[in-house]
């Protein structure tokens, strides 16, 4: 991936990647809240989250994180095997 980058380029790249990571994380966080809020909160007779809704949010966040971890693993695996296959063809 980063073959052929000098040390300075590598540093610049890392700085950019860190910015990207923060952005990525904000997106993931926002999507998580949106998904779980949409699925769990539907009682607007009160302005405070009920214990039922709160429990649902907690489970939704756990399950979503588990989903994300699992898909990240699959993503990395498949990506590695696709890349290997492509390299072989060159």
């Amino acid at each position: 991936m980063d073959q052929g980058l000098t040390a300075a380029e590598q540093r610049e790249l890392e700085a950019r990647l860190q910015k990207r990571q923060v952005k990525e994380f904000m997106n993931v966080f926002g999507n998580l809240v949106d998904t779980c809020f949409t699925a769990c909160v539907d009682d607007f007779t009160s302005k405070a989250i009920s214990s039922r809704e709160s429990g649902c949010l907690t489970r939704c966040v756990s399950k979503s994180m588990a989903t994300q971890n699992r898909l990240s693993e699959r993503f990395a695996e498949i990506n590695a095997s696709v890349t290997a296959e492509m390299q072989g063809k060159r």
Binding site: Q18, Q21, V22, E24, F25, M26, V28, F29, G30, L32, V33, D34, C36, F37, T38, V41, D42, F44, T45, S46, K47, A48, I49, E53, S54, L57, T58, V61, S62, M65, Q68, N69, S72
Partner: protein, 99 residues
């Protein structure tokens, strides 16, 4: 809100200070857009027979806004506990976003 996300605590250089403020406003704007979308879906009658908000819709929006903020805090606290795991999932590395 600065504190909710904890971004930009050390703000040294000029460009960085500007970027930090800009970034916070961006975060706020995004949150606002998401709230608008979600609370509209939860509270508004989609037939648009009226051009004004009905009393019930207004009250629903107010409560939805409050709950949306509360959910952010709740989820953020939960993630902080599950901390490192979450960060690895988000792409790894770095530390301490203050969530």
């Amino acid at each position: 809100m600065s504190s909710l996300f904890g971004l930009g605590r050390p703000q040294p250089s000029s460009a960085e200070k500007i970027a930090a403020v800009e970034n916070e406003l961006k975060v706020m704007a995004l949150m606002h857009t998401r709230m608008l979308k979600i609370c509209s879906a939860k509270c508004l009658d989609k037939t648009y027979r009226e051009g004004e908000l009905a009393k019930g819709e207004s009250v629903c929006l107010d409560r939805c806004a409050a709950k949306f903020f509360e959910a952010h805090t709740t989820v953020s606290e939960q993630l902080q506990k599950q901390g490192e795991a979450a960060q690895r999932a988000a792409g790894g590395g770095g530390g301490g976003f203050g969530f």
